[in-house]
């Protein structure tokens, strides 16, 4: 049987010719559709409702129509409403002298004004509006078709189109033009990007973005995505011709994918390539100076991590030759952790193979590159590492720990006059660690934790007879203050007898802020000369490591780490600060490093970056960022931005200048403008809206 409609009203009069006259707070409900009005006349014979306003007609998809007067079919799917407004998703409003409902699917509007902007009595012109002679809204396809459409900004006609199709705000996925954007750079001139999105079935889509600029730049950007039941891939790329490199086809490609394999294994891959080093900078893409294409299979469980990968490196850095850099790297790692049975405590076993290949075949070093390794050296390594540690809570609350690790490596080196052949190395370290954490509940509930830590380590101090390639870049921070081997890779192992001493003090305030301080030092029985000066670990006594972290619950987090020697000469200093509040935010970072040939850094680095935003008014937010090279006393990069966001429009203005230059990269200025009319498609969420009469 057909579902019955319900009419509720303060009073209902039954007049002669089979009509009902409902008066006062009248509501009609039928199959999810609802109409509210002051007066409704239901003519049963004609099966029609004539309704007097103010009328609110709502259907189950969130669309509703406000009108003064209407003639509708009894099931509310058919009929005409006069001086009405169609409101989509409480955002986009289409006002028309007359709206007619057709078959419960289409809504046709006569002369229409469409806008999602707040309109107040004191200034009735909305920020933007689209006027059209006719508009048809298709509730099933969720598309809005404008005829003879004219876009007006603040009342000024800006754009006219005979036909225009825009997505209904609830539409999440459909083919069509996306928001265009303007980009001006000194290298390419002013250009327009017009992205077009194409859906290819349910699980694939393609976005094509032509980008034409005044200085003869012609680019086609492409992004293809495909989802599978077990994963997905995304391929983005571009082809360009421009006057920066007039006689060759430039471009880049980046393909990534991730898949779930059986037995909980995951497969991920990444392929990236670029035609020339400057392409990323010229076209505003994320900067990379070493391309890293890899395929990786891995699985991680509670006590086990298995990983296999193949990586292809391609450097686009000035002065680096890919022939003498290890370009192909293959690794296999199996790491298992387990309880050590009768021994107690926790043990670990790691098996690893590593191989790297250089395309050059010269077994000696030439000055093509800056390093001293044989140009063509290839290497393969197999390693086993066993580690064990056990904690005891000693009297007076001292946590005593016995720990140790033993490694066995077999290296097979070829195309290297000095190190050719197979070398095996056995190494190990045993240590005792004592931690003595103290706690204090201070006045007002503040919690203090003070934890002195001492570690005594014995390991053979024989010298290394392997070339050190993967352990050249050594860092010294709280993460490896108490580790048995601070070298990041396997080529070098920390040797000799030494003590790692440190103390940390942390204060937690009930008001939510916290302050942490850590200080530490490494003291060796003798200088094993294994570390470069810039690492802070050189000498018999390492530099002092002092780290501080301040966190305020108002949104401030500052972390600072310094290495300095006995006469307070700073070897390395790094700071990151992030202050985020509703109306403003500031992110700052500072890095200062010594020059060190071992780390292939021939000039010291001292750089300060600042990134700020300030909300000037409810709608305007100003942004500024700069990267200042303190050492060269020059700004490497500076940028300002202005963002406007209200309930119906978002405008993004950005101006940035990059001053760095090299043989392949020129300084460039980049200006960007993008305007987005909110309320169409499920784009960016609307911002704050102005209150009328304020």
């Amino acid at each position: 049987a057909q579902q019955a409609a319900t009419l509720v009203a303060d009073s209902v009069a039954i007049t002669g010719e089979s009509t009902l006259v409902a008066q006062g707070n009248v509501e009609v409900f039928y199959q999810g559709r609802r109409v509210q009005a002051q007066r409704i006349i239901y003519n049963q014979a004609a099966d029609s409702l004539s309704i007097e306003g103010p009328i609110v007609l709502k259907d189950d998809s969130g669309t509703f129509i406000l009108a003064d007067q209407a003639e509708l079919s009894a099931d509310l799917t058919q009929g005409v409403l006069t001086s009405a407004r169609l409101v989509l998703n409480q955002q986009l409003q289409l006002a028309a002298t007359e709206i007619s409902r057709i078959g419960g699917r289409y809504t046709r509007l006569g002369r229409t004004v469409a806008s999602s902007c707040q309109v107040c009595a004191e200034n009735p012109t909305p920020l933007w509006e689209i006027r059209a002679s006719q508009v048809v809204h298709d509730d099933v396809q969720r598309q809005i078709y404008f005829s003879d459409a004219q876009l007006r900004i603040a009342g000024m006609p800006v754009f006219w189109l005979p036909r225009l199709r825009m997505p209904d705000p609830r539409l999440t996925r459909a083919s069509g033009v996306l928001t265009p954007s303007l980009r001006t750079t000194s290298g390419l001139g002013t250009g327009l990007k017009l992205p077009y999105f194409i859906t290819l079935g349910d699980s694939r889509d393609l976005t094509l973005t032509p980008y034409v600029t005044t200085k003869g730049g012609r680019t086609l950007e492409l992004r293809y995505r495909q989802a599978f039941s077990s994963g997905g891939i995304e391929v983005s790329g571009a082809w360009s011709r421009d006057e920066l490199l007039p006689d060759d086809l430039r471009g880049h490609v980046l393909a990534t994918g991730a898949f779930e394999l059986p037995r909980d294994f995951d497969l991920t891959f990444r392929i990236e390539g670029v035609s020339d080093p400057a392409y990323y900078l010229d076209y505003g893409l994320p900067e990379r100076d070493r391309l890293d294409s890899r395929v990786e299979v891995s699985r991680t469980r509670r006590n086990e991590h298995i990983e296999g990968r193949l990586i292809y490196f391609h450097s686009i850095r000035d002065g680096e030759s890919n022939a003498t850099l290890p370009s192909l790297v293959g690794d296999l790692t199996f790491h298992r952790r387990f309880s050590a049975g009768p021994l107690g405590g926790e043990a670990g076993l790691r098996l690893q193979t590593h191989s790297q290949y250089r395309s050059s075949t010269l077994p000696f070093d030439t000055d093509i590159d800056a390093d001293t390794d044989a140009d063509g050296r290839d290497m393969a390594r197999a390693s086993v590492r066993v580690d064990w540690r056990r904690n005891w809570v000693l009297p007076a609350g001292i946590v005593g720990t016995l720990l140790g690790e033993a490694t066995a490596d077999v290296y097979q080196i070829t195309q290297d006059d000095i190190y050719d052949g197979t070398t095996t190395r056995l190494h190990g370290a045993a240590a005792m660690e004592f931690r003595w954490p103290w706690v204090r509940a201070g006045r007002g509930g503040a919690q203090h934790v003070v934890e002195p830590v001492a570690q005594l380590i014995w390991s053979p101090s024989s010298t290394e007879d392997l070339p050190n390639e993967d352990s050249a870049l050594v860092e010294f921070d709280e993460g490896n203050l108490f580790s048995l081997n601070r070298f990041p890779g396997s080529d070098a192992t920390e040797r000799g007898t030494r003590a790692n001493l440190g103390i940390s003090w942390t204060r937690f305030d009930p008001a939510g802020w916290s302050l942490g301080l850590t200080a530490g030092r490494v003291i060796r029985t003798r200088d094993t000369a294994q570390f470069g000066g810039a690492s802070g670990l050189d000498g018999q006594r390492s530099d002092w490591l002092v780290a501080m972290q301040l966190g305020l619950n108002g949104g401030l987090m500052m972390t600072n780490r310094v290495l300095f020697d006995d006469d307070l000469e700073v070897t390395k200093a790094e700071l990151r600060m992030d202050l985020q509040r509703d109306d403003y935010g500031l992110a700052a970072s500072y890095v200062r490093l010594m020059a060190d040939p071992l780390e292939s850094r021939d000039t010291p680095v001292s750089e300060l970056t600042l990134d700020g935003r300030y909300r000037v008014t409810d709608f305007w937010t100003a942004k500024a960022s700069s990267r200042y090279d303190v050492k060269a006393d020059r700004t490497a990069r500076a940028g300002v931005g202005l963002e406007f966001r209200n309930e119906c429009m978002s405008v993004d203005l950005s101006l940035s200048r990059r001053f760095t230059s090299s043989t392949s990269v020129q300084p460039t200025t980049d200006f960007g403008l993008s305007v987005d009319l909110l309320g169409f498609g499920s784009g960016t969420a609307p911002g704050p809206s102005r209150r009328c009469g304020r």
Binding site: P326, R337, G348, N391, P395, V439, V449, E478, S589, R601
Partner: protein
């Protein structure tokens, strides 16, 4: 001066060793975080609490030379963690710890790769140690024997 050894008998953290089971890791970062947490507070035996965590990390390029080469990265990381009582599921304590480590990208590709992975390994150990410090500091409130 009010300080007492946390692990002394009757001390607030006396029951901490072996009392916490950290959630299973699903990637390398989580694997390293769980390893360090278990190094500090022991592998779970008859645990009374479960430690859940969400790790986020992001590399940021710094030290950009005048020739526009990126010579160093700061790897920033944060862990949102929560300790709940096994059985009742009652949330006992929790918070967010943040820090960063750095790695240079100047040497050979293999050196850069090892440095990048070691930076992630050290970051997880620092964040794990910060979580343990939080546990020790708050243990008097929840680690009743």
């Amino acid at each position: 001066c009010g300080f007492t050894p946390a692990y002394a008998p009757g001390g607030p953290a006396a029951e901490l060793q072996g009392a916490v089971r950290v959630d299973n890791p699903t990637d390398k970062n989580a694997f390293d975080l769980v390893e360090r947490l278990e190094e500090r507070i022991g592998r779970p035996d008859g645990p009374r609490y479960a430690l859940g965590y969400t790790i986020t990390t992001a590399p940021i390029g710094v030290g950009i030379t005048t020739e526009n080469a990126i010579t160093r990265y700061n790897l920033t990381g944060s862990v949102d963690w929560g300790l709940t009582e096994i059985g009742s599921g009652r949330r006992v304590t929790g918070g967010k710890v943040q820090n960063f480590t750095s790695y240079s990208a100047t040497g050979s590709t293999v050196a850069g790769l090892a440095a990048e992975e070691d930076a992630a390994f050290r970051l997880m150990r620092i964040l794990a140690d910060q979580i343990v410090t939080n546990l020790i500091a708050s243990s008097s409130a929840w680690a009743t024997p």
